[in-house]
Symmetry: C2
Subunit: 381 residues, 2 copies
């Protein structure tokens, strides 16, 4: 991460803009330097998953810096602060968005105690990096913050299928994650007639079919069983246990929780009919976060001005913008992901789409500068 | 196994019958000692699976010895040889029925080279036990062998459901075992719309439903998916691979292979419709083995004479009788398994059912002794 900070700082040096690292390990750079003007934040995260691609996160920081560069000294009625967030993926501590949480005061004592796989706490990791946890309050959003913009690769196949370069993100989907366990009895695969079985795999398979059908029939819903572990797991033994996960997301919390209730109800019915027992364990219940409607509308206008077709979409993945949105007007611009591939070395982005994004960004800055409604909504206005 | 042999030899000592261990590690005991009369074999296996119950195999040897005891010196027109087979379960070398294979000349050079997990070959294991592989030909069935009878716990729930103590086994089911792999592409569970997925788990789940339906609709067929392993196996990632096993059994080979072809055809259809690829790997294709019809009929008569209702059934599990059947008239008597439980410390058997089995066995010996048809069919007659 230190090498990454040095590289990004080198890009900023060329613009005579200083980078500093806040107490949560976020890289922050203000343009014009030392400006007291209300500020617009532009950024994304600098960390990655293991075996990652080259664009997830850092592209949004690079586009922020490119926009500074394209302004070529031109001043706007607001300052621009580029942010490269730390620890968005949650790889080291199992907790995502640590960098952006610091901007909204959500890196508290409890969070600082969380340990990595080697027993190092977040507090210690901050200290080991040469930073002071006591400085965390200084990482908080300034009162004169106007908003937060995040450019990010889509990480999905939608824009490619639509043959579009960019999209305005109107919401980050809410998400439930549950673990479900069907239990029956293990028995000999050769000596137990079909009608006397309590087969946990067969019950799980029936429910996986239900999950898929419900998601297909509900517009905007995605539901995934990505993991299934069975016991005892031998070819000639009927399974006594099947433990599986469900990941379910929608921009409407009511629709998501309604679909989840329906799926759990059907799981219980399947279990009862098959004389299995069924246990559920809710691992995550995260509400949907709407992006700022004014910003989303202006982003659409900027996309149109840059000559692209406009498209609104919901982000199925979580992003730093979701963390900042409750405190400051936030919005995102997605760039097309070739093949929908992400979190993989094959992740890529079209250079022409990046050019479009920068062009759109410049239009966006101008549109924001000339929007009285945008300019009057500083955080504490 | 040496302790087990000593214990069984002690039971035989009381009857003044000697036990010897043949070159394949089978315990063999002839009554009357040194008889030259045609011989009837009665036995089962002495080895077990790990964490086994107390009855699988050894009960059949114990019943053979009990029948010798019940004869109280009475002579029949044939000798009785009790056999306690070695290595029926295949735990150590992954190859079942090694003991009974020796009686039909199927412990050949190739088999002797097979190694256990520590690299010890079957040849070396025989030598380490103090036996001579060069003596294996002496373990072969004698030319004057009349037949083979095996008492065994059912290891399934059928007799308990029918409220019956005993059954005559008319065939050992044929069995296919295959491994099937569905491959799609791993993608983000939040950003990939339902209609753009190539979800290997969803394809596998649909096929598991088909397997269950086909088996339920086909009388006597059992089909089991007992193992499924998915990649990458994360809650928030659509699975790119699902590898699963199918175990399918029926007493009719045509019906079994027909059902298998149908299931593979449907798997290919599911894969094609879902844009998945599908690979199959046949691990086992074992034909059904019929028990000797004359012996099965006489067993039914003996069960009736012992005051029980008679029932014929197919064994879904493999047994030593299946190995001997191609060379000598063979048949089995099943004893009810409480709860259908086997290969588990909770495996049990009702003492009253064992009494019934011994009573039935004595009637069986008398019926065989008075059957000219049975007596004239020595192996080389």
């Amino acid at each position: 991460m230190r090498d990454c900070h040095l590289e990004v700082a080198r890009w900023l040096d060329a613009l005579q803009v200083d980078a500093r690292i806040d107490a949560a390990g976020n890289l922050r750079a203000l343009y014009p330097p030392r400006s007291k003007a209300p500020r617009l934040l532009i950024g994304s995260h600098l960390d990655t998953v293991p075996r990652a691609g080259a664009y997830d996160g850092v592209l949004g920081v690079a586009i922020g810096i490119a926009l500074m560069e394209e302004l070529r000294g031109r001043e706007l009625p607001f300052a621009i602060e580029v942010i490269g967030f730390s620890e968005e993926e949650g790889v080291r501590f199992g907790i995502p968005f640590i960098g952006s949480r610091a901007l909204v005061g959500r890196v508290d004592r409890e969070l600082l105690k969380v340990q990595d796989a080697f027993g190092v706490t977040i507090q210690e990791a901050i200290e080991n990096f040469g930073l002071l946890p006591s400085d965390l309050p200084e990482a908080r959003l300034k009162d004169n913050t106007l908003g937060y913009l995040e450019f990010h690769i889509e990480q999905g196949p939608v824009l490619e299928r639509l043959n579009m370069a960019l999209a305005a993100v109107e919401a980050v989907a809410g998400q439930s994650r549950i673990e479900l366990t069907f239990s029956g009895s293990s028995n000999h695969a050769g000596t137990t007639p079909m009608n006397l079985r309590r087969d946990a795999i067969a019950g799980a398979a029936e429910w996986i079919g239900v999950v898929e059908r419900v998601a297909q029939e509900t517009s905007g819903l995605v539901a995934t069983v990505g993991k299934i572990v069975v016991k005892p797991g031998a070819a000639n033994v009927i399974a006594s246990e099947a433990r599986l996960t469900l990941d379910i997301r929608h921009s409407s919390d009511d629709l998501r929780t309604g679909a989840l209730e329906n799926l759990l109800h059907q799981a219980r019915e399947i279990a009862a009919r098959r004389d299995l027992s069924m246990k559920e364990n809710i691992l995550l219940d995260q509400r949907a976060v709407a992006m700022d409607p004014l910003l989303v509308g202006i982003i659409e206008a900027a996309i149109a001005k840059s000559g692209s077709t406009t498209h609104r979409m919901v982000s199925g993945a979580g992003h730093d913008a979701m963390i900042l949105a409750p405190e400051v007007p936030s919005a995102m611009i997605f760039l097309r992901s070739p093949g929908g591939i992400s979190h993989d070395p094959k992740e890529s982005v079209e250079p022409a789409d990046v050019e479009k994004a920068i062009e759109c960004g410049l239009h966006l800055l101008d549109l924001l500068a000339s929007s009285p409604e945008f300019m009057k909504r500083t955080r504490l206005a």
